[in-house]
């Protein structure tokens, strides 16, 4: 094998080549002086490898003694060589070139780098600090800054204000970080279904949620003050729904129960509402007005009830007209009360059933609650015949019709009745005119007697106050009754919440002889169990547990309603 060895050297920046031809069977490469290609690098073994002819024109390299060579930057023990292939041995690089005609192979040899350069290059290439690994605090910092700012502010802001995409984005579960990432806490259950649609409430950026946003849905919400003079004052006119209804704090806090919301005005109502007729309420335990029940007074001249508010400073006024005769004590006797089905022990709940509000009771119903004992039959001979309840005219007509019918039908077993009435009729028999007149006269007399008896004494008059009218057609009239009123229109006492308590522990019904008795406990009875927020030996109670805010009977929260209140509070008379 004829091999042309071209050795490149560098001197003063000049690169020059020196050629020599070697005739050999194997081109031996190594550090040894006996090698064909002698490489003066201590790391190179004495005999590293051999290059031999492989096939017709190709070359191959075989490393010796378990050494390896780097062919084209890959370590190998053997390999075929083609033109342009490189073999790295220590600092030297051998390159196979296409040989000229006269030789079998051309191998170029060049020292890639000097020993000194190699050392400094190796030292420089060491990664001996974190900074040298490519880690950059500045780079990481910017990366994290952008990585946080984009999804937490820029993308949501763009989607919300920069595009019209938001409705589409919200239609599905948002994949992109929309403004829902700004929600500071869970929304109340009622609002949770649109909580990702922030703009529904937050209509203008950098502006607090406006009342209109709430009232868009909560239409017709009642105001606190009915009187226009109060409603127009700044304390109401500038009030925000948010003042009491904080959103994004979970269901529990949608209605703020903090007492200061109420006492900021009610601790000293005169201060903000000059001349207003309400008592100060600073707290519940010590500074709360006593109960002021709303009671009924019957005005016989117009046959109507009117309502007045009384308080415990006027004990003689603490009763409410009912026009109903009902002694609670008789009905609640421990040993019971006589009834058609025997002795019966009555319970409060037998008549007073809590309604769905939990605050009030279902109306007392004569048929359900009274009729079993207070029967409406009027003829001892026909105990099943009863007068209808609730209409005097119908009751009278029923009695008259009844007696006319029995008189004409005959067969009445009453010793003082005329014979024609007592006589049993044959089938198809018709009374002659005189006989009929006698029978009907008897019937009228019986009816008058019975009407007089049941209205005045036995049935109606037993529970009701009955007036004689002097009118023959309608001789009696039952006065209207008033059995159920909201005694405390501004206080919602939840009877349902106090179910476990005995009724009589607050209401002295067992000793009440008249239905006019109020049977209301005093405020101090509430204080037996209830204390202020923070109380440690009593139930901590907030104003809102008994009192509502949106209580004005007709005035609503929307602006037009408030705007109509134009009167100046200074020019007011006491309401």
């Amino acid at each position: 094998m004829r091999v042309l060895i071209r050795t490149w050297t560098r001197e003063g920046g000049e690169r020059s080549a020196q050629d020599r031809i070697v005739e050999t069977l194997q081109l031996r490469i190594g550090r040894g002086t006996d090698q064909d290609v002698e490489l003066a690098d201590l790391r190179v073994p004495l005999a590293l490898a051999e290059i031999v002819i492989d096939g017709a024109h190709g070359l191959a390299i075989h490393a010796k003694g378990g050494h390896r060579v780097w062919i084209n930057d890959s370590p190998a023990e053997d390999g075929r060589l083609a033109p342009s292939d490189t073999i790295d041995c220590g600092r030297y690089r051998l390159t196979v070139r296409k040989p000229p005609q006269e030789v079998d192979a051309l191998v170029e040899i060049e020292e890639r780098i000097s020993a000194r350069e190699e050392r400094s290059e190796r030292l420089a290439g060491l990664s001996t600090s974190l900074a040298a690994t490519g880690l950059s605090r500045r780079g990481l910092s910017w990366l994290l800054f952008i990585a946080v700012l984009l999804p937490s502010l820029l993308i949501p802001a763009y989607l919300r204000f920069g595009t019209a995409l938001i409705p589409t984005v919200h239609a599905a579960k948002p994949v992109w970080p929309t403004d829902h990432v700004w929600i500071p806490g869970p929304s109340s259950t009622a609002h949770a279904f649109f909580q990702n649609d922030c703009a529904r409430c937050h209509q203008k950026p950098f502006e607090q949620v406006r009342n209109e946003a709430c009232l868009d849905c909560h239409k017709g919400l009642h105001h606190h003050a009915e009187d226009a003079r109060w409603a127009s004052l700044p304390v109401f006119a500038q009030a925000q729904c948010e003042d009491c209804h904080e959103e994004h704090k979970g269901q529990a806090r949608l209605v703020d129960t903090h007492n200061t919301l109420c006492t900021s005005c009610h601790a000293n109502p005169q201060q903000k509402f000059s001349g207003i007729d309400i008592e100060a309420a600073q707290d519940f335990s010590e500074h709360h007005p006593t109960f002021r029940p709303r009671v009924a007074r019957y005005d016989a001249s117009v046959r109507e009830f009117r309502f007045i508010t009384v308080n415990d400073k006027q004990p003689q006024e603490l009763h409410s007209d009912t026009n109903f005769i009902y002694p609670h004590d008789v009905h609640l006797k421990a040993e019971g009360i006589k009834s058609p089905s025997g002795n019966k022990v009555l319970k409060c709940a037998g008549c007073h059933e809590i309604d769905s509000s939990g605050v009030s009771f279902k109306p007392i119903d004569m048929q359900r609650h009274c009729a079993e004992c207070h029967r409406l039959d009027f003829d001892p001979d026909a105990p099943d015949r009863t007068v209808p309840h609730g209409s005097e005219a119908q009751a009278i007509q029923t009695i008259r019709d009844y007696f006319a019918r029995v008189a004409l039908a005959g067969g009445v077993i009453k010793p003082d009745a005329p014979a024609v009435v007592q006589m049993i009729r044959k089938p198809g028999e018709q009374l002659d005119r005189p006989s009929a007149q006698i029978a009907l006269a008897w019937a009228d007399q019986q009816a008058d007697q019975t009407i007089d008896e049941i209205f005045d004494k036995r049935i109606c008059g037993y529970c009701h106050i009955v007036e004689r009218t002097g009118d023959l057609a309608l001789p009696f009239r039952v006065t209207p009754i008033q059995l159920q009123t909201r005694i405390f229109p501004h206080g919602d006492f939840s009877h349902a919440a106090h179910k476990q308590e005995k009724c009589t522990s607050c209401h002295a019904a067992e000793t009440s002889k008249h239905s006019e008795d109020l049977l209301m406990p005093e405020l101090k009875r509430c204080r037996d169990c209830h204390g202020d927020p923070g109380a440690d030996s009593k139930v901590q109670s907030y104003c809102t547990e008994c009192h509502g805010f949106h209580i004005a009977p007709t005035r609503t929260m929307d602006k037009s309603s408030v705007a109509s209140a134009s009167a100046q509070p200074t020019a007011m008379t006491k309401p």
Partner: protein, 318 residues
């Protein structure tokens, strides 16, 4: 970024003092701040319950945000050695204690309301910054002395130069002993690793890798050398080289001169092994001392971004 080589000296001097500076002046200020915040939080009974949006919530939030911005600025300030506004040590002390006080201030600002939102993200990032800072305090208190002890005398640059010389000498002597020895020594030199990737620098994983390199080296040598190497599996190749050399020494029937050369080579290789270990230990200690900054600083910037998002979004949807 290129403070890495200079800070160790600064820090080894500073770590004695920045925590106790001025009889714990900044510790006292921070404690006062925390106690004031706690007292106010306990005493405060805002309508709607405590939260970030109450008067106290806004106050604590403002204090917290200002502290974060100021502490970040302090981080920059500490590098401006030209400034004459207080000492580096003073600012470091303030940075540490006021930074720690943020745990109380910011937690009370949140009123313990957390969720999957940007607000909690800012809080979590802040906790990350503080946690990495706490690691930094510990690192600056313990590593400088270890680094100093490891260095004894000399610098890493001098060691590296020495290592190069030892390598060359080892190869030269190995070559004079024989091609097999030369081969083993060259491979050992080439496979010895200094520094490396982040993981390697921090945990020295390259030592295990080197052991792996050695195992494959030993297998190829086994066929050639009957003087078996009874090295345990976990030895580094440097250790293994010595063991192999010892075998050569024991089994050798060569001349006294050659035995002398082998002994010298063994000595060189032992020195080389110690040197590599010391350099790697130096690298490891330095990396462990400084790695927290690669968490602390980027997290701080992340925190600033989250803080901007938090504040802007709160007032955007007031």
């Amino acid at each position: 970024m290129n403070r890495s080589s200079t800070t160790s000296e600064d820090i080894s001097l500073a770590h004695e003092g920045f925590l106790v500076l001025g009889r714990f002046r900044y510790l006292k200020i921070s404690l006062l701040l925390c106690i004031a915040a706690l007292t106010a939080y306990i005493w405060d009974d805002p309508k709607g319950g405590p939260g970030g949006g109450t008067t106290l919530g806004y106050t604590l939030g403002t204090i917290g945000a200002l502290l974060i911005v100021w502490l970040t600025w302090l981080g920059i300030r500490k590098r401006r050695y030209s400034s004459n506004l207080g000492t580096v040590k003073g600012w470091t002390s303030a940075h540490v204690y006021l930074g720690l006080s943020l745990i109380v201030i910011a937690t009370l600002h949140t009123a313990f309301q957390f969720g999957w939102n940007v607000h909690t993200l800012a809080y979590v990032l802040m906790c990350g910054v503080i946690a990495s800072g706490i690691y930094g305090i510990i690192a600056y208190s313990s590593y400088p002395s270890q680094i100093t002890a490891n260095r004894a005398s000399g610098t890493r640059d001098a060691w590296l130069t020495e290592l190069e010389e030892l390598n060359e000498q080892s190869i030269k002597i190995a070559d004079s002993i024989g091609p097999e020895v030369h081969k083993v020594v060259v491979r050992s030199v080439e496979s010895a690793r200094i520094g490396g990737s982040i993981r390697e620098q921090l945990f020295g994983t390259h030592l295990k890798k080197q052991a792996g390199v050695f195992e494959s080296l030993r297998e190829s040598l086994d066929t050639h050398l009957t003087a078996a190497i009874s090295a345990p599996a976990k030895k580094t190749n440097l250790m293994a080289t010595e063991m192999f050399m010892a075998g050569q020494l024991a089994g050798s029937e060569r001349s006294v001169q050659e035995a002398e050369r082998i002994r010298k080579l063994l000595d060189l290789l032992a020195r080389r092994r110690d040197l590599v270990a010391r350099i790697n230990r130096d690298i490891r200690l330095q990396a462990r001392m400084q790695v927290w900054l690669y968490v602390h600083v980027p997290l701080t910037l992340g925190l600033l971004a989250a803080l901007i998002a938090h504040i802007v979004s709160v007032f955007l949807y007031w």
